[in-house]
């Protein structure tokens, strides 16, 4: 479903080249559960941003569902993000003046879905995610765990093909973090492809497939239980 071929992302920092992604090749199948770990600054976020079409590679090819997305225009990328990608961030990134329900509906609003349908779909998610009592609250009235649940609901309301999470538990206590991971795993068990970037080995180890990134390169790519080095 996702195929990266020799993808590089190079930043220019004060005249110096920083290879945040150095010829990374990676294939992710539909419905997979994959964690990405590695030291800080190793290029995990960059990889996730490329996967999520928020960033474009300097070289290499990215095929998403067989389509070469490296040659898409800005607007096509936006449309593809809207339909295929769900994003979760460490800092939730909810809009403070909107209620939980309005935040969840935001992708549908941007996609031009009529208000009746928006409400029906967001209400279903709110109930499934145990947020019914909080739907009219603003983010600052919610706990961290609740905020991240709102963010997950927002990420999946468009029924994307893949859910990308960048340190989703980084700002949560252990208990809420576990809850969030379980929620995402539940979605994965229903067929949603799930990619989680984390520096928490306990969470990383839960994924069926674990990728280790070091210095912009894949250092290890192993299935749970077994272990083998990258090609």
């Amino acid at each position: 479903m996702i195929e990266l071929r020799e993808v590089s992302r190079i930043f220019n920092v004060g005249g110096q080249e920083v290879r945040a992604m150095d010829r990374i090749s990676l294939t992710i199948e539909l419905g997979e559960y994959l964690s990405i770990m590695g030291p800080s600054g190793s290029g995990k976020s960059t990889l996730l941003n490329i996967l999520g079409l928020l960033d474009t590679p300097n070289s290499g090819t990215y095929l998403l569902e067989g389509i070469n997305v490296t040659s898409l225009s800005d607007n096509q990328l936006a449309a593809t993000r809207s339909r295929k990608i769900g994003f979760i961030f460490q800092f939730f990134h909810l809009i403070p003046r909107l209620t939980a329900q309005q935040n969840i509906e935001l992708p549908l609003l941007l996609a031009g879905v009529p208000s009746k349908e928006r409400q029906a779909r967001s209400t279903r998610l709110i109930e499934a995610f145990g947020l019914a009592a909080r739907s009219n609250h603003r983010p600052d009235e919610l706990s961290g765990g609740q905020r991240q649940r709102v963010a997950i609901a927002r990420a999946v309301i468009n029924e994307p093909a893949v859910l990308l999470a960048d340190e989703p538990t980084g700002n949560l206590d252990r208990h809420s973090g576990a809850e969030i991971v379980e929620l995402m795993e539940g979605l994965n068990s229903k067929g949603l492809t799930l990619v989680v970037v984390t520096h928490d080995p306990e969470i990383g180890r839960r994924a069926r497939r674990q990728v280790r990134v070091v210095d912009g390169q894949i250092a290890a790519d192993s299935l749970r239980g077994a272990s083998h080095a990258a090609p």
């Binding site: 928020l54 936006a78 809207s82 339909r83 992708p107 941007l110 996609a111 031009g112 927002r154």
Partner: protein, 402 residues
Amino acid sequence: MRPLDTIGFAMHSLGSNRVRTLLMLLAMSIGVASVVLLTGIGNGARLYIVDQFASLGTNLVIVIPGRTETASNTPATLVGETPRDLTLGDARALMRGDTVRRLTPVNIGELSIAWRGKERQVPLIGSTSQILEIHHLTMERGVFLPDEDMEIARPVCVIGAKVYRELFGTQNALGEMVRLGGFRCRVIGILGSEGRSLGLDTEELVIVPVAFAQMLLNTEGLFRILIEAKDLDVLDRLKKHISSTIAKRHYGEEDVTIITQDSVLATFDKIFRVLTLTVAGIAGISLVVAGILIMNVMLMAVAQRTAEIGLCKALGASQLQIMLLVVTEALLLSTIGGLIGMTLGFAGSWLVVQFYPTLQTTPPPWAIAAALGTALGTGFIFSLLPARRAARLDPIQALAKH
């Protein structure tokens, strides 16, 4: 994104920052209000002037003896020969034209009027019954000059209100004989106190039939002939009629000057239109200032909401959508500000009318359209820069700015 949703989202974001919103609304509405009010006042002044001229009769043509154009260096003027008089015969001849609605010859002079030992000097006008309509005179009591042939020197007079008071006090004047110069004449009417005629205060006037005035003043000539055209469109034909008739009667010499009011009026009209435009332009500057304020505040708003904009992009908003959101906010501000400003402007115009009823300060429709158009235009133009900046935000960096 649906248009209504876009507006709703923009409204929501405006509502979440009230101080900023109110500030921009204030700037916008003051700009629009001043355009509406100032053009209203300018237009009122123009209408007032036009109206003043109209009361003189815009389709009035005045024929005075002698050429006044400097261009006419004919031998006659060089020799210093006095021009031929205008006569009652000329007036009668001019009356035969299908472009003439009313015509009256006029003579003017000063005479003493006396009744029972009281005497005073008064300006005298010799004319016909037609001058009543031509100069919009009113009658207080009695009747005006009889409608009869202009050559009949009937010894009657119509006197001004002040002349009546000074000679008769509160006694009856109608039917009384007064002495005008060396002649006796019967008072048949008293003029209303309104208005001026030939630059003279009607209160102090004495009006007599023109032929009688010629007797009193001992002259064959006329001071001028007033002609009212059927309407403004035939003014040029009327002028030709006058020139050719006079030329025929004065042995080929067009030795009269024809004055029309429309040219003077047109000049004033133009001056005041330009003035109104200028004032509107000055007021328009305040709109541009409002626009710059909107731009600055929108730039600030975009900077404040970097994360929000980045998020929307990450969630699949296109650059165009982001631009549209920012521009919609600005347009909402300028529309609402414009409507408030219009209300204020009209309220201001209404107030001016209360204090100066003669100044009909209705803002012209074009000014309203221009003010609203400029408000929307500045809102649009000055929001483009912030909108573009927002649309080009890199979502990753925007989201990183926590």
